[in-house]
Amino acid sequence: MKNTVNVLLIALFITAMAAGCGGDKKGRGAVRSDVQEAAQKTYVAPGDLDEYYFFASGGHSGQVYIYGVPSMRHLSTIPVFAPYAATGYGFDKESKAMLGGFTWGDVHHPALSETDGDYDGRWLFVNDNANNRLARIDLRDFKTKQILGPIPNISGNHGSTFVTENSEYILSASRFSIPLPKGRVEKIEEYATKYNGVVCAVKVDPKSGDMSVGWQILMPPFNYDLGDAGKGPSNGWAFWTCYNSERAIGKLEVTSTQKDRDYIAAVNWKKVEEALAAGKAKMVDGVKMLDPKTAEGIVYLLPIAKSPHGVDVTPDGKYIVGSGKLQSITTVFSIEKILTAVEKKDFTGNEDGIPVLNYNSVKEAEINVGLGPLHTQFDDKGFAYTSLFVESAVAKWKLGTWEVVDKVPVAYNIGHLCAAEGDTKSPDGKYLVALNKLSHGRHLSVGPSQPEASQLIDIGGEKMSVLYDAFTEPEPHNAQMIKADKLHPIEVYPKEDNKDPKAIWDVKDAKVVRNGKNVEVFMVLVRSSFEPNKIEVNKGDKVTIHMTNIEQTTDELHGLGILEYNINVVVDPGETKTIEFTADKPGVYAYYCTNFCSALHQEMQGYMLVK
């Protein structure tokens, strides 16, 4: 009797679930029975913390977005290449100088700094595809600390920022070949002979993280696309895919897809260092440039099916995985075989003096993963995950047996994918985020300008399953996922660490100093007042305000916005910032605290009198 009741109850439950499914947008929702499990896996209760940081590039927004995994909540935005009024970035003297007059950048590939091939949690490097720059974010305070560039001779810094095993170098490359050095014009019809691509290594100071251009290699006018640095047995090598080995111009969609094969450029950077030491470099626009014609053994080309995109080195460093948009196979090369082919000079030709290795000698496997494979990430159990753009899916395959074992559809048109520490020597497995290019209205409609869709996928089990849809700011290209306990951020700048000579820590030291037409204001920001709360200047004066937020408590930020002067800065606890402007508009202008601070936040205000 009891059993009958149970069976009846279960039957009722299933009926209810099925009825629930009926209300779904057809074909789009997950199967109901999986929903509870997915919800539990992604739910981070109020007050609880996520397990991973997820740093997503912000594409042409120029910024970096931080999400928590598994909740996929957007936690914060790090402004990098574009002014960001929310934190006052690009308004104060220092960040304005760092931006160097540019108001946007195109962030594609963030890279966390590494020690022994593992994330060390020190810095995040990002590239600017548009203005050929690199930036370093310090993960102690999540702030952009350095912008390097525009890098000489680099045009379209897309194949960047991938770091070597101990962050000796950050990779950089030209996506759009140009006549070198910059500033010169050659006829576009002479592209094949007078234009050049460049691959480049940017040096990182191991203590300060300070970046400087290391060296460059003059390359044939191909389009250098994506890169990765070797590790373990392949440490000392750097790889870049390149499309348009046709050296074509015009409508590349057609002209650059005529040959069956393009290349992966493999650079032996240990040999590069030897060649530099032997004095083989020439200076081009202030940078040491090596020409493969005169510096032998620094670079080789691996043939790969046409229009390749991603290249990724396996965690053990033994294999190099290349995939291309127009293929259905992913090609695996063996570093051991590459080294043998190099030694035996097993070449099938050359491009401007760069040897082309024999494809059949260096290839380890061709894997039929699916349509439009792009990028590959790895887990802790010896599996690889390749994104399939055309197919809108992720393929899971086994390293060694080279067999596809699982596939999961994603919505829609996945570009990069990012597994937990999935490009290091010791990936974590567990989570994978599919960075999809199109969301196609899988969310409440927000009009024609649609967000991107990032989907969290559970890769802990045998079968992959999509757990969560997040809609991310434009436009996450690549991302990095790092275990939260590897980062140790500060939330307050300790007073004793503030070395700004213009900092003041007592309201008694607040003052306005006039020197001819220069007015210098030393200001204190503290709950809930500005000191001074009155600034008198004359029209045309050059005004400099040094603001110190003397708070020493988490989240006690203060902002200073000046009405109609297009100025807003936010000063963190213990920080000093400086703004400079010319008081060119006469009148009385209020300034006020823009970052809500306390019960008397509204009262935190002052007046600037411009006579």
Binding site: E491, V492, P494, R527, E551, Q552, T553, A599
Partner: protein
């Protein structure tokens, strides 16, 4: 009456035996932790501060708990300024000058008892130290009273004058305030107990010797 005075005089003459002298050394040692551990601890909890703001009061300084992201004393002062309370700063507390001095003096007096070895000196030490303890407690209470009553009349938020709790819990605006003696005080309060023990042992030894 005469009998009691004579008895008391006799008591004051009792020599301090070896075991009691060791106990007095131990008693004096009880004062040493006060040079590096707090006497009192005040914790203020609120919604925004689930881990509390912690203020430790030493014999010679005030110290808020300091984490990389917060200096609790600075935060308490930042919040108190809204109700017009004077900032808590070391230089406003004369106690921080004389308390360590008196404690040092007490240790010297304890050594004096050990050297001279007479009950009268031990009684002196006990009485003086008890007086010092009670006076210090009153002084602490009075300071709390003053800080809670002499509020700036121009303060943004007007609150009725108050005295923060010295022992136990009190609700103040959005804060739950807990205040209790801390490590240093527990050691200090062991001192008079040990002194009484020394008296008792010395008397017991003396009585035993008379039989």
């Amino acid at each position: 009456m005469q009998h009691y005075i004579e008895k008391a005089n006799l008591f004051f003459e009792i020599p301090i035996d070896m075991r009691s002298r060791l106990i007095i050394i131990l008693a004096a040692a009880m004062l040493l932790p006060s040079f590096f551990t707090p006497l009192w601890k005040m914790t203020l909890y609120s919604n925004q501060f689930p881990d509390g703001l912690i203020l430790n009061i030493y014999t010679y300084k005030l110290e808020g708990r300091k984490t990389p992201n917060q200096d609790d004393l600075k935060e308490i002062n930042s919040l108190n300024h809204y109700i017009g309370m004077r900032p808590l700063i070391d230089t406003d507390f004369t106690e921080f000058k004389w308390i360590p001095f008196v404690i040092g003096g007490t240790i010297l007096l304890a050594l004096r008892v050990i050297v001279l070895g007479k009950m009268s000196k031990l009684v002196d030490l006990f009485v003086m130290f008890t007086y010092f303890g009670i006076f210090s407690l009153w002084s602490f209470y009075y300071k709390m009273y003053i800080y809670g009553h002499e509020l700036d009349p121009t303060a943004a938020i007007k609150v009725p004058p108050f005295t923060p709790p010295m022992f136990g819990h009190q609700t103040m605006a959005n804060f739950e305030v807990y205040c209790y003696p801390s490590t240093g005080s527990y050691f200090i309060s062991a001192m008079p107990v040990l002194l009484l023990a020394a008296m008792w042992f010395s008397r017991k030894a003396w009585l035993a010797g008379r039989k």
